[in-house]
């Protein structure tokens, strides 16, 4: 306390020092609990690395570039899982990002205030619904709907082509991407809404005062002002989509093959783990699955690090601008 008085501008409470045993113990306990977080992170890396040793030694880098996945002859390659993870995440982002933006705009700029309040709360609650429920709904309700209506329509409009060839079965890469999009939509749009709400009213009012229309204010004032925050929201949504297990496993078809058609079934790293882990009896099979998990962990960690650095950079540059 005395130290704080000497540094009136410092908000740091860390400079306080009390040397009674109870206090030291308390402080140490806090430091240990923080250490638990660091230890767990190191533990996750070490456990996954050591348990995937057999697979890493056997396949080397070929593990990442081979699409062969055949437990019967003990051949394992992650390519189809990695490909499926990337494609389903891309579909999810392509659908969810523009939708989230307009939902956020709708809530902040267009909807009447009372309606916006109700919708805003509803969307935040939807972001909390467990992913397994999205997955189950996808399997029983949305996949048949895709097969009966959306997929035939896509084939009619765009022709079969490389993307939309094959029978419209409902289950497959496209449906998985759509379910992922639906799952991250409430999440991204509620963050985007918060960002748009932080735009100071004065700036918007001055644009309106110059005669700008609502869309012009949004396009030229609100979006540029909140761009960094919105990018942060997209990164967080991306992180969720990449590692999502349950929403995808139900509807992707779980097939280890590389197909250009979005109607074909495929798999992602997470869905492969969910489907095959408890069946894996061979040590090499198990080890390959752990290596898949390691790859997924590293991919999400990289995105997390980029997102954190980005947000820190955005903070330093005066928040939103």
């Amino acid at each position: 306390m005395a130290v704080d008085a000497r540094q009136p501008n410092s908000e740091s409470a860390g400079s306080r020092k009390q040397k009674s045993p109870a206090n030291m113990l308390f402080r140490a306990l806090g430091a240990v609990c923080c250490g638990a977080i660091l230890l767990l992170m190191a533990g996750i890396l070490l456990e996954l690395l050591s348990n995937s040793q057999m697979s890493i030694r056997t396949f080397g880098w070929r593990f990442l570039t081979s699409a062969a996945w055949d437990p019967v002859v003990s051949k394992f390659g992650a390519l189809s899982s990695i490909y499926g993870t990337i494609v389903s995440t891309l579909i999810a982002l392509v659908v969810a990002v523009p939708m989230s933006l307009v939902v956020a705009l709708f809530l902040v700029e267009l909807a009447p205030k009372k309606l916006a309040g109700v919708f805003g709360t509803a969307i935040e609650l939807l972001a909390a619904i467990p992913s397994i429920i999205y997955g189950m709904w996808g399997l029983f309700v949305f996949a048949p709907f895709m097969a009966d209506h959306i997929q035939p329509a896509l084939q009619r409009w765009f022709g079969a082509g490389p993307l939309f060839s094959g029978p419209p079965m409902g289950i497959g890469m496209l449906t998985a991407g759509m379910i992922l999009a639906l799952m991250i939509l409430p999440f991204i749009s509620s963050v985007m809404r918060d960002v748009l709400q932080m735009v100071p009213p004065v700036i918007k009012e001055s644009a309106y005062g110059l005669g700008a229309t609502t869309w012009e204010v949004t396009k030229d004032v609100s979006i540029p002002y909140g761009l960094r925050g919105m990018m942060g929201a997209i990164f967080l949504g991306l992180g969720r989509a990449i590692g999502e297990t349950m929403a995808v496993t139900f509807v992707i078809g779980n097939d280890h093959k590389l197909a250009t058609s979005l109607f074909a079934s495929g798999n992602t790293i997470a869905s492969t783990l969910a489907n095959e882990f408890t069946e894996a009896s061979e040590p090499l099979y198990l080890s390959s699955l752990v290596e898949l998990g390691l790859a997924l962990f590293l991919i999400t960690a990289v995105f997390q690090i980029i997102a954190q650095l980005w947000l820190r950079y955005a903070d330093r540059n005066g928040g939103a601008r």
Binding site: M1, D4, E11, A13, G14, R16, Q18, S20, N23, R27, G30, A31, C33, C34, I37, L40, E47, L48, M99, S100, V103, F106, L110, T121, A122, E124, L125, A128, P130, I132, I133, Y134, M136, W137, F140, P186, T213, E216, L236, G239, I242, G243, E244, T245, M246, A270, L273, A274, F277, T278, V290, G293, L296, F297, T300, A301, F303, Q304, I305, A307
Partner: protein
């Protein structure tokens, strides 16, 4: 700058408003569709038998998920008992002692990465750490996995909540001669109480619907398992198994279980919101 007539600009504005409005409504419609489906199909599956009896063998109609309901509650409570105290202490350290130190910065950074780690990877980690070493799947291992997912969330939210407490309060307590731990528990905690509770409730809500980390830690079981050693019944893995099964009765039960989980999670979220609102007005 290109000049455009006011009529043209108004038309663009109206068109965009229309597109944005209909896209927003489409998104909201899809989400309402999902809610209505779960409510409708779930409500028809839930009855007294569903809530109070054990599951019957595959293919036979009837039975319930009483063991899974209790199992999910037990696993979530155990995870909370492990994750919350550790997370709270870590949050206290970051907010009160560590602040700008390098150690605190590193912990924050790593907690951020852990928050983004896919829950299935945490399940994999607990499998190699506990299930392999203890030699069996168990409810305890599942609870540990959920606790690991909770830990960084509780840490970060409690740090944020504690930081909202004005420094003058701390200084007054210390000036009265209170030791730091008393200052924190009797003064700072009281000031941040509803915020901390809100954070904890949201963390519990987050993990209570998790499936992926339980798939290969807790597994599932058709029996009662009060000790949580060995495979333990739980709602989310039951949903996964039953929904993938070919039996219509099991699929109906999966909808019932989904409704229970959804209602639980929404209830926790609404409680947290009410608490947060009280904080703002009070």
């Amino acid at each position: 700058m290109r000049q455009r007539s006011i009529v043209q600009r108004r038309m663009v504005n109206a068109a965009i408003t229309f597109i944005a409005g209909s896209a927003a409504l489409l998104g909201i419609f899809m989400l309402v569709w999902l809610l209505v489906t779960v409510l409708g199909r779930g409500a028809t599956a839930i009855n007294w038998e569903f809530l109070t009896t054990l599951p019957k063998s595959a293919g036979s109609v009837g039975g319930g998920l009483a063991n899974a309901i209790v199992g999910t509650l037990m696993i979530t409570v155990l995870a909370t008992l492990i994750g919350v105290p550790v997370g709270l202490m870590a949050g206290i350290y970051l907010a009160e002692f560590g602040r700008d130190s390098k150690y605190a910065g590193a912990v924050r950074f790593v907690a951020g990465i852990m928050m983004g780690a896919p829950s299935i990877v945490i399940g994999l980690f607990v499998y190699t750490l506990l299930v392999v070493r203890m030699g069996s799947f168990s409810g305890i291992a599942g609870a540990v996995a959920l606790a690991i997912i909770m830990l960084p969330i509780v840490t970060r939210t409690s740090e944020d909540m504690l930081k909202l407490v004005p420094n003058q309060l701390r200084e007054s307590a210390l000036a009265l001669g209170a030791p730091e731990h008393k200052m924190i528990f009797q003064v700072v905690f009281r000031a941040a109480k509803s915020g901390l509770i809100t954070g904890v409730i949201l963390a519990v809500a987050r993990v209570s619907g998790e499936t992926a980390p339980l798939l290969f830690t807790t597994l599932n079981s058709p029996y009662w398992n009060a000790s949580m050693q060995g495979p333990t019944a739980n709602l989310t893995v039951t949903i996964f198994n039953y929904a993938m099964s070919p039996y219509a009765d099991w699929q109906a039960k999966a909808w019932g279980a989904s409704l229970l989980i959804m209602a639980g999670v929404l209830f926790l979220n609404l409680t947290a919101r009410l608490l947060a609102r009280d904080r703002k007005s009070g």
